[in-house]
């Protein structure tokens, strides 16, 4: 429910471990709203979201600790450098990332040599990469990614694909809202299409 408009109803699905869900649909069909409901930022107008059998409302911080949400605003501070952004975001999530580990993650995201630049000097795609570097160091089970592929180049998209594949191999779940195809190995992709 956004304002007076009902975006979707009768939505009922379960996501087993190790599954990739691709959320598609035209602009304004409620992909972002659904992801925000799933991460707990937005309470659903009706119905429940459950995690391992329990309502996420009652799980509270326990659920939040199992989720990484990347919105289409990247959550990168312009005044901080890439490495500071990465380390502080993780520290606030209770994951202590050492300098070396953060360097390694940023290098893997193709940001070697730019770790200490203030994020405002980075390009849009590079900032997106900084935000995505978080996926390398967090150890959460559920990833909720909203339009993370915009402004990324081909190599970065491939990187994201391999990141998600690794995550699924480890029994994780990724729910990704995207217009682009993420060609993952067959059999583990579920599609969820929202219509207006």
């Amino acid at each position: 429910m956004r304002g007076d408009r009902r975006l979707f109803s009768g939505l009922d699905f379960a996501v087993p471990a190790g599954t990739f869900v691709q959320l598609t649909g035209p602009n304004g069909s409620g992909k972002t709203s659904l992801l925000r409901i799933l991460c707990g930022l937005l309470p659903p107008a009706e119905g429940d979201v459950t995690w391992e059998g329990a309502n996420i409302r009652s799980l509270g911080e326990e659920y939040v600790a199992a989720v990484t949400y990347l919105g289409h605003r990247h959550g990168i501070k312009d005044e901080l450098s890439a490495i500071e952004n990465l380390r502080i975001t993780n520290a606030l999530n209770g994951v202590d990332v050492s300098k070396d580990k953060a360097h390694g993650a940023l290098e893997q995201m193709g940001l070697a040599g730019r770790e200490s630049l203030p994020a405002r000097l980075l390009s849009e795609g590079q900032r997106r990469r900084v935000a995505l570097a978080r996926l390398l160091v967090c150890n959460t089970k559920l990833w909720l990614l909203d339009e993370v592929l915009t402004s990324l180049d081909k190599s970065a998209v491939a990187l994201v694909r391999s990141l998600i594949e690794n995550h699924l191999d480890g029994g994780g779940i990724a729910i990704v809202a995207t217009h682009q195809e993420l060609e993952l190995a067959a059999g583990r992709t579920k599609r969820l299409e929202l219509t207006t």
Partner: protein
């Protein structure tokens, strides 16, 4: 965790020092305009000093309130802060503490200096310092509620003043009252203890109120 939030906000403020300095300059200039405008009538200056300094402090702290959550809101870090596995009121408390250190503490420190222009005695300057030290946390704490409520609204800056300034009135009355009592030669301790009580009450309640307001603003 609290430590990280405070540290993060202090670092951000340090990278944007100009914002912080503009608040302090605003305070100094507003307070200095009165002696310049009124002229060297020491008796009158002494009478208006408590009110002028305190009102200037209120207005200066209004200036910086808009930034408390707005920057984090715009770049999406605020929703990330909401999604950290810790009680939201702790996040709010950390941000408010950082705001107090960045925006209010410089005013407290410089107030005795600008108070000299009003021909206040040394003891009175100390009382001015003490009253601001006790009172400015109230401004930050109550102001954070207003900042959270007006988040993302157009014209939030004006709205926040209308919302928050009336709530500042008790702090203004007791803060300025303490300085006034000291000028009159009576004991300011009653005013100061009431101000302290007000600070404790707002410390207990406002982080929860702010957290609730943030959740609503971010839905």
């Amino acid at each position: 965790m609290l430590r990280w939030i405070v540290w993060r906000d202090l670092m951000l403020a340090w990278r944007r020092r100009a914002d912080m300095l503009s608040t302090v300059f605003f305070f100094v200039i507003v307070v200095s305009l009165f002696p310049l405008g009124i002229g060297p009538e020491t008796q009158l200056l002494r009478t208006i000093a408590p009110g002028v300094v305190w009102v200037a402090a209120l207005l200066a702290s209004m200036l910086s309130l808009g930034r408390l959550f707005a920057n984090d809101y715009q770049d999406g870090t605020l929703e990330q802060l909401l999604l950290t596995p810790q009680p939201l009121f702790l996040v709010v408390l950390g941000k408010t503490l950082a705001h107090w250190i960045v925006a209010e503490l410089p005013l407290v420190l410089i107030a005795p200096l600008v108070g000299v222009q009003f021909d206040l005695r040394r003891e009175t300057l100390w009382i001015l310092f003490a009253s601001l030290l006790l009172g400015t946390p109230v401004l930050s704490l109550i102001g954070s509620i207003g900042a959270a409520l007006t988040l993302g609204l157009r014209g939030g800056g004006v709205l926040i003043s209308i919302l928050v300034l009336p709530l500042y009135i008790p702090a203004l009355i007791f803060g300025a009252g303490a300085v006034e009592a000291s000028i009159m030669g009576s004991s300011p301790s009653a005013h100061l203890s009431l101000l302290g009580a007000f600070a404790i009450v707002s410390l207990l309640f406002s982080p929860w109120a702010t957290a609730a307001a943030l959740r609503i603003s971010l839905e």
